[in-house]
Symmetry: C2
Subunit: 115 residues, 2 copies
DNA sequence: CGGTATCCTCAATGATACTG
DNA sequence: CAGTATCATTGAGGATACCG
C-alpha cells in the first residue's frame, strides 16, 4: 500500500484514511444519532452533550462533503435545516457498531462501569 | 450510557473510549505490525514510515499500559527490547481489520488509488 | 434558528540534542 | 540500541460576539 493524497492531505494507509472520514471526537456520535431519523441542527446540539456550535457545524460540513449526510435547508423564517444520513453513512454505521461493541467489551474487561 | 472516567479523563461513550485505546495516528500501524511477529524497537521504527522516536516510544508505552503489547528488555550490550502483542492486542486486530477493509472500500468508492 | 467570524489556549506532535 | 530531555510548532478546539 503506497501513500496517497486526499483533499491536500497525505495518508499512509487505509485505516488512517477511514479514521479521518468518520473518526475524531464527534463524527461517530453525530452519525449514530442520524442513523434512524432525520434531525434538525438544534436537535443534534441538544442531543450531543458538550459539543460546541463550532464543532457541530464543522463536523457536519465535513460529513456532508464526504457524502455521509445530506443537508436540507428550508427557506422559512425562522430557518430550518435538516440532516439526513446517506447510504454511505449507513454503511459507516456498521463500522461504528463494531467499534462501539468493542469499546463496551474493553470497558467490561478493564472493569469500567458508567457511574 | 452515562459518562465515566479512565486515567483521569472523561469519556462520554464507548466509541470514544475504544478510540483512545487503539486510535490516533500510530497505534493501529504499530499493532498491525506486531500481529504476526515479535519485533524490536528499531525494527518497528524502520518499518513504520514517518514515525518519530518520541511518538514510537509514547505510543508503545500507552499500548503497554493498556495491555495490548508486552515489552521485554534484555540486559545485554547493546540493549535489546522486544515487543509482543497480547491476547487483548490480537482482539483489537479484529477491529483494525474491519476499519482497514472499510477504508479500502471507501477509497475505492471515492476513486482514490495509491500513487 | 442556524449558523460565521475572530481571537485565544493548550495538548499533541515534531526537531534536536544527549545518554545508560 | 533504545531510549530521555528540552524546546519549538501547530492545529484542534473553546469562548465570545455577531448576522441573515
Amino acid at each position: 500500500m503506497g501513500d496517497f493524497r486526499y483533499n491536500g492531505k497525505m495518508y499512509y494507509n487505509p485505516v488512517e484514511f477511514a479514521m479521518d472520514r468518520i473518526g475524531g471526537t464527534w463524527k461517530m456520535p453525530i452519525l449514530w444519532r442520524l442513523k434512524d431519523r432525520v434531525m434538525r441542527y438544534s436537535e443534534l446540539q441538544k442531543d450531543i452533550p458538550h459539543i460546541s456550535q463550532k464543532m457541530l457545524t464543522t463536523q457536519l460540513r465535513e460529513l456532508e462533503d464526504d457524502g455521509f449526510v445530506v443537508r436540507k435547508v428550508y427557506a422559512v423564517v425562522p430557518p430550518k435545516t435538516e440532516y439526513t444520513i446517506t447510504e454511505r453513512g449507513l454503511r459507516a454505521i456498521e463500522v461504528v457498531k463494531v467499534i462501539r461493541n468493542y469499546g463496551l467489551e474493553l470497558m467490561d474487561e478493564m472493569g469500567i462501569n458508567d457511574k
